[in-house]
């Protein structure tokens, strides 16, 4: 095991409000790391700092560094960074103007790749990878938004995979889904860790416990505790962590 991402003294702001305070966190390669904490604790901001999406928001600011394979991503072209670190959002957001097939390879198409055969092959590959192929193979030319919520979210994961990232960030990917779709998604995430390093934000502690190898607990912009998931849930070291996982606040 080696460290894929190293977050060093990371601070984040929205306007005047500091939402991340001196975060230090190492993320293991080919593992699933969950970030938990009550709403407003900065967990979404943290994950958005890892592929430089935070700075896209007007008024947002970041200080500190995030190393990907020991290279500071804040010293590189953000576009290149986001190719290597994919993201899946809270709500499924397939492109409404594109078909299922086009959505799956949207990243490639948008970069100007025109080769239809290559695109079709890649689309099939990633749609299969997210276990969607059998469900949508006859609807590949329908708009991406015509699928069910769970299917849309898996399509969005396929879309992220098609760019061939090394890391996959997921910001509460199941929060808009029903229980059955959530289960399927969790199985998929578990599958994906063989090839990708995954960071998942969730407000659902059971979900974190089920899927992740490591868990970080954030509270009011500070990293309170970070360890092996089993350990964190069974033997929390910090009093705040214990109170949170036992459901006494948040």
């Amino acid at each position: 095991m080696s460290t894929k991402i190293r977050i060093k003294s990371l601070n984040g702001w929205f306007g005047e409000k500091q939402v991340l305070k001196d975060i230090n966190l190492d993320i293991e390669e080919n593992s699933i790391t969950a970030i938990i904490g009550p709403s407003g604790c900065g967990k979404t901001t943290l994950i958005r700092c890892i592929n430089r999406m935070h700075e896209v928001t007007p008024g947002a600011r970041v200080e500190g560094s995030v190393l990907l394979d020991e290279q500071d991503i804040y010293k590189e072209d953000p576009v290149k960074v986001r190719e290597r670190i994919g993201m899946v959002f809270q709500r499924p957001n397939p492109f409404p103007t594109m078909s299922v097939l086009e959505n799956a390879v949207a990243g490639l198409k948008l970069k100007g790749i025109r080769n239809r055969k290559l695109l079709a092959e890649k689309a099939e590959e990633v749609i299969k990878a997210v276990g969607l192929w059998d469900e949508v193979k006859n609807e590949l030319n329908k708009p991406g938004t015509s699928l069910s919520g769970g299917q849309q979210q898996r399509l969005c994961i396929a879309r992220a995979l098609a760019v061939e990232p090394e890391v996959l960030l997921m910001d509460e990917p199941a929060s808009a889904l029903d229980p059955v779709s959530t289960m399927r998604l969790e199985d998929l995430i578990y599958e994906l860790k063989k090839e990708y390093t995954i960071v998942i934000v969730t407000h659902n502690m059971q979900q974190a416990a089920r899927v992740s190898d490591y868990t970080a607990f954030l509270y009011m912009g500070e990293l309170i505790e970070y360890s092996n998931t089993k350990e964190l849930f069974e033997r929390p070291k910090n009093d705040l962590t214990e109170r949170y996982i036992s459901g006494r606040f948040g």
Binding site: R82, G86, N93, P96, A106, G107, V163
Partner: protein, 274 residues
């Protein structure tokens, strides 16, 4: 405190009053549509739509050159205005900052410019140099079209959900590609609506053409020649003392109205489908 009965009666009276207000507004509309159809329909024929005008007094003649001139100038004005407006709107919606605020403000101010101002502006700037021409007419129409299409475009672009923008950026797509191929494409229905309404508006504009396109009794033979236009012809014929021309003015008005209303209704159908 007045009794409930009295208050109710007052309420009914007021209902009648507001309904009457609506009916009063409808009277001129109905009268206009009735007159245009009644006076205009008799003269419609293939010859009327395609032939050149004849001198007053002579029977026959048509508005072919005016339709040609209008189509030409509206097409040229659209070609000038649409790219300028869309790219300006993309700056406003995608980048923000001072230049965006200023551009948005200027677009709003310009959209209220009286159309006759566009005419004298292009007269002093262009006509005095190259003469009365289709080009000058198209430029005057552009002055009116650019602000309206810009406003419609940035309103549509701003309405594209954040999540769609972020999805594109998170794929590692350069911002300009995301803007052009995802955001612009998502806003296309709204922008298209704005463009069509803009076209419908300039199709009927007369004042900007009075001292730019000038008018012409013959076919237009080039962008640098004076040219006829449907609204100009209606104005000239309506204010002429000749009965035959006045009748043709109604016919031309019917043609113009059908074009403008078709564009307006078409837009509604597109917008409703979405």
């Amino acid at each position: 405190m007045t009794s409930l009965g009295v208050r109710r009666i007052k309420g009914y009276l007021m209902l009648i009053l507001v309904a009457v207000a609506f009916i009063i507004i409808m009277i001129p509309l109905i009268s206009m549509l009735y007159m245009i159809i009644k006076e205009g329909i008799g003269i419609l024929s293939w010859e009327f739509l395609t032939a050149l005008p004849k001198p007053p007094g002579e029977a026959g003649g048509g508005i072919g050159n005016a339709i040609q001139g209008s189509l030409m100038m509206v097409a040229l004005a659209s070609m000038i205005s649409i790219p300028i407006s869309i790219f300006a709107a993309m700056y406003i919606s995608e980048y923000g900052g001072k230049l965006s605020t200023i551009t948005e403000f200027i677009a709003e101010v310009l959209s209220g410019t009286p159309s006759i101002i566009a005419g004298i502006f292009i007269y002093t700037l262009i006509v005095l140099r190259i003469g009365f021409s289709a080009l000058a007419g198209a430029l005057a129409l552009s002055v009116l079209m650019i602000p309206t299409v810009t406003i419609a475009s940035y309103e549509s672009l701003k309405a594209v959900p954040r999540s769609i923008r972020e999805a594109a950026i998170a794929l590692g797509v350069p911002k300009w590609r995301a803007s052009l191929f995802v955001i612009l494409r998502s806003a296309m229905v709204g922008i298209g609506t704005g463009v069509i309404l803009g076209v419908a508006r300039i199709f009927g504009e007369t004042a900007p053409l009075l001292f730019t396109a000038l008018g012409n009794m013959y076919w237009n033979e080039g962008l640098l020649e004076p040219t006829a236009a449907l609204p100009l012809l209606i104005y000239n014929y309506a204010t002429s003392p000749y009965k035959s021309w006045q009748t043709q003015a109604w016919g031309a008005a019917l043609v113009l109205l059908v074009i403008v209303l078709l564009l307006n209704i078409g837009v509604r159908i597109i917008a409703r489908k979405r």
